[in-house]
């Protein structure tokens, strides 16, 4: 047992602004609540049976007694809450867009949820389970997927949460501001040990994070293990070389792709993922449908590694990197 806290810690760049919206609404709510409750208590006392209060209804000029024609009063207490509701809506929608817009240059970390643990992989390949180490002052982008049912990734101190779905990527980002240890919870009910699918987020200074990252436990860097998969699964045979049978992948990430049906889309993680799993869904224009389906052939974590490798490929001709 410990002391009661009434407010959660604010440990990310968005926490303060989100709480300000909450406290703002809380203030308005308390105002309305107190106004109604005070009126009820006052009327209950003043107009209790047997009291000597003046109960005469003095005519059209007295606003409260205009029960049929009291439209002014009705309109007032319709329009005032309406305007306030709309204003708060705009405030919250604006914050939401701001909070969910992916920042550029974020450090990317991969998250896989499964009953009942969180598997985390850092850019250099370092892996951890139910723990996440991050530096302060750097935007961190999590790309997440699930190996089984739906989970949800929640760090209360950062005010971030996103559902983690099977066969799909979802993303969230945060920028931690305060060193310390924080809770990580699964918030989508996922079975027997849902309440034990929790972990610890450790926020460190960038230097200490680098030291931690370089620690003994480093695996093979994410991109290089992706390269191995790229060869092992045979992707190299069609997607590289001078006359490739499949579209070239170098530099494709973030670029516009023209599809067989004439439409275009921007190649993001989700598109690359879908094309690996089920290439026929969105064929690139000018290439025959030769590619085998890798659906159910690749483990989620490998798939993420592979997608990350494809993202890292530079277009040699232009020397650009997305």
């Amino acid at each position: 047992m410990s002391e009661i806290a009434f407010t959660p810690e604010q440990a990310s760049t968005i926490a303060g602004r989100m709480d300000f919206l909450f406290y703002g609404w809380l203030g308005l709510s308390i105002f309305f609540f107190v106004a109604v409750v005070v009126a009820i208590i006052y009327f209950s006392f003043k107009y209790r049976k047997g009291s000597k209060a003046d109960r005469r209804i003095t005519g059209e000029t007295e606003f409260m007694t205009l029960s049929i024609t009291g439209t002014t009063l009705e309109l007032t207490w319709t329009i005032v809450p309406l305007i306030m509701a709309i204003l708060v809506f705009f405030w919250s929608a604006w914050l939401y867009v701001d909070f969910t817009q992916m920042p550029s240059g974020a450090m990317e970390v991969l998250v896989t949820g499964k009953q009942w643990m969180w598997k985390i992989q850092h850019p250099n390949g370092k892996r951890e389970i139910n723990e996440l180490h991050v530096p302060t002052g750097v935007p961190i982008k999590l790309t997440m997927t699930s190996e089984d049912t739906i989970h949800s990734f929640f760090i209360p101190a950062f005010r971030v949460k996103k559902d983690v779905l099977p066969n799909r990527f979802s993303q969230l980002w945060f920028n931690a501001t305060k060193e310390g240890e924080y809770h990580l919870f699964c918030t989508e009910y996922c079975g027997t040990d849902h309440s034990r699918m929790i972990g610890k987020v450790t926020v460190m200074s960038p230097e200490r994070y680098q030291a931690w990252l370089a620690g003994a436990d480093t695996g093979v860097a994410m991109a290089s293990s992706g390269e191995k998969l790229f060869t092992k699964l045979g992707c190299v045979t069609c997607h590289t070389g001078t006359t490739p049978r499949g579209p070239k992948l170098a530099g494709v990430f973030g670029k516009e792709v023209k599809l067989a049906d004439g439409s275009t889309l921007v190649a993001d993680e989700e598109y690359i993922r879908e094309s690996i799993m089920n290439s026929s869904a969105k064929m690139v224009q000018g290439y025959p449908p030769l590619m085998p389906l890798f659906k159910n052939q690749i483990k989620e974590q490998d798939l993420m590694t592979l997608v990350n490798y494809i993202k890292s490929l530079k277009d040699e001709k232009n020397g650009t990197k997305s």
Binding site: M18, L21, I40, A85, V88, F89, S152, L165, N167, T187
Partner: protein
């Protein structure tokens, strides 16, 4: 057949010799009755049993959460306990609570009809409900259900190991029972109003039920078929919701909340109807803003259909879709606010007394306000990122469902009890119970708002230690709440045998149901249809008193 005896106010009330409940007394005459009042009693008994079972599960939850470790039962058992608490309370108590009992009993009499439009469908509705209820008990006996009341796939279709298919069938049947009740109310309101009972002379209780019925008949089929799709995927492996076999789990969430969000208005609108009857009666004053309250019920029913996506802000739903749902959710709060202001204004210059129904009604306003205002925290997209699926949500919907609907149900039960049974319950005990419920409720659920803000997720069997003190407070509050609920069966059953005869109109209320004997005869109005000449809120305050004040 009995006749209406007009007893003068001064004479002591006597029970009518023959009434709906004693014309025939065999078990069969009850189980196959087509009298709306008897069916209401059947429903009352059944939902009370399910409320007790659901309440038992709630107590188990609160005992488990006394300690952070999860040491009272296993994780699997806990998951079943909160699932069954939700399924039973929602499908077998809250949805039928006011409409199927108080609505069934009072609505036809309130509009001057001798029964509902389709008495046999009304009976079928109860039988379907019971069939669903029996299946729910089968689920319990065969090992329970651990999907959460929301049945989210792919967990429910692929990973759950319990009685999902039977539970779905149970909810499906209960759903159709709800559709039949709604259908009956709509036709009855349209076709069976007494001469002079114009739309704007209908009691607001009837308006609220009319709005509720629209949701029931339009929304319930969607959830029924969605749950069947879950069963199809589970039993035959057809890929509908599970992405591993080609389905889409978010599709389920849309379909499910398309009904289940409007369903929360099924669980609150009838309660608002009850409060709209009780406040004018115990304030001796005409309801303030009648049309605004009536139309706000309709507005809630209609806009309420377009807000379901606010359950999906963090489920990868598009930002723009989320914005539309968020705006509409903010808008649906306005009609609720209008009702609260009008109830408050009704008390102005009234002559207020504080019998048990009035205590419940005033408690309802306070608790519903908290529930509604915190609902807008969740409607706000930015805040919902943090509060989604935490105890803040649990606290919010219990303020609306229990603080709102259960309070309103008890309010209505105490208001119409003398009409239903012909006898008065002990007023002091009822008032004490009402106050215990109000205080206990707040102690149970207010700490959960703070727990949610601190980040405690819902459906957690064990939790981190810093949440313990608030959980202990919550469990202590629940004990007081349980005591308040537990008192009621005793004094209500006692009143059936020993209570003072209530007389036709113990509250001096103005609705048509108070112009017939208590309990009413089988066809409600044995002297023929009443002709309505004034609105149901034509309350007046004793003129002499007003005059004496005028002399000051």
């Amino acid at each position: 057949m009995s006749s209406i005896t007009l007893t003068p106010d001064i004479a002591p009330a006597v029970m009518p010799k023959s009434h709906y409940a004693n014309v025939r007394t065999t078990v069969m005459s009850w189980l196959f009755t087509v009298d709306h009042k008897r069916i209401a009693i059947l429903y009352l008994i059944s939902i009370t049993v399910f409320f007790a079972v659901g309440g038992l599960f709630a107590s188990l939850i609160r005992i488990e959460l006394l300690t952070p470790k999860g040491d009272f039962m296993t994780g699997d058992t806990y998951n079943k306990v909160f699932t069954l608490h939700g399924v039973i309370m929602i499908f077998f108590f809250l949805i039928p609570s006011v409409p199927a009992t108080l609505g069934n009993f009072a609505l036809p009499i309130m509009i001057g009809a001798k029964d509902l439009a389709f008495p046999k469908i009304n009976l079928l509705s109860w039988w379907l409900y019971m069939l669903g209820g029996v299946l729910a008990v089968v689920v319990l006996l065969r090992g329970g259900l651990e999907t959460g009341w929301t049945f989210y796939p792919p967990y429910s279709t692929t990973f759950a190991t319990s009685q999902v298919t039977i539970a779905i069938l149970a909810a499906f049947l209960a759903g159709f029972s709800s559709i039949f009740t709604g259908l009956n109310f709509i036709v009855t309101v349209h076709k069976m109003r007494a001469p002079g009972m114009t739309w704007f002379r209908m009691p607001l209780f009837v308006w609220a039920h009319y709005a509720t019925s629209i949701i029931q008949i339009l929304g319930t089929p969607v959830v029924a078929i969605t749950l069947v799709l879950v069963a199809i995927e589970r039993v035959w492996g057809v890929g509908i919701f599970n992405p591993q076999i080609g389905g889409d789990p978010i599709l389920f969430q849309h379909l499910f909340w398309f009904y289940s969000h409007p369903a929360v208005y099924v669980m609150i609108l009838p309660g608002m109807g009850v409060v709209s009857e009780v406040i004018p009666c115990f304030s001796r004053k005409r309801i303030f803003g009648y049309e605004f309250i009536a139309f706000s019920s309709m507005a809630i029913a209609i806009i309420g259909f377009l807000v379901w996506g606010h359950h999906l802000y963090v489920s990868t739903q598009s930002t723009y879709a989320g914005m539309v749902f968020s705006l509409l959710t903010f808008l649906v709060a306005v009609p609720s606010a209008i009702k609260v202001f009008n109830w408050t204004a009704t008390m102005y210059k009234g002559e207020i007394t504080f019998e048990a129904p009035m205590i419940y009604a005033l408690g309802f306003i306070g608790l519903f306000l908290v529930g509604g205002l915190t609902g807008l925290v969740l409607a706000s997209m930015a805040n919902d990122i943090h509060f989604h699926d935490t105890y803040f949500v649990v606290a919010h919907f219990h303020y609306v469902m229990v603080g709102g609907m259960v309070m309103a149900y008890m309010c209505g039960l105490h208001f119409w009890w003398p009409k239903m049974t012909g006898r008065m319950y002990p007023g002091l005990l009822a008032t004490i119970a009402a106050i215990l419920v109000f205080v206990g409720f707040n102690f149970t659920f207010f700490p959960q708002f703070i727990l949610g803000f601190l980040g405690m997720p819902r459906r957690y069997h064990s939790y981190v230690e810093e949440f313990q003190i608030l959980n202990i407070m919550s469990t202590m509050g629940a004990s007081v709440l349980g005591l308040g609920y537990g008192m009621q069966p005793f004094y209500l059953l006692w009143s059936l045998f020993k209570g003072e005869p209530a007389g036709d109109n113990p509250w001096r209320a103005k609705g048509l149901e108070w112009q017939v004997p208590s309990p009413p005869p089988t066809f409600n109005f044995p002297d023929g249809r009443p002709v309505v000449i004034e609105d149901p809120y034509a309350y007046t305050i004793d003129v002499k008193e007003a005059d004496s004040v005028a002399q000051h």
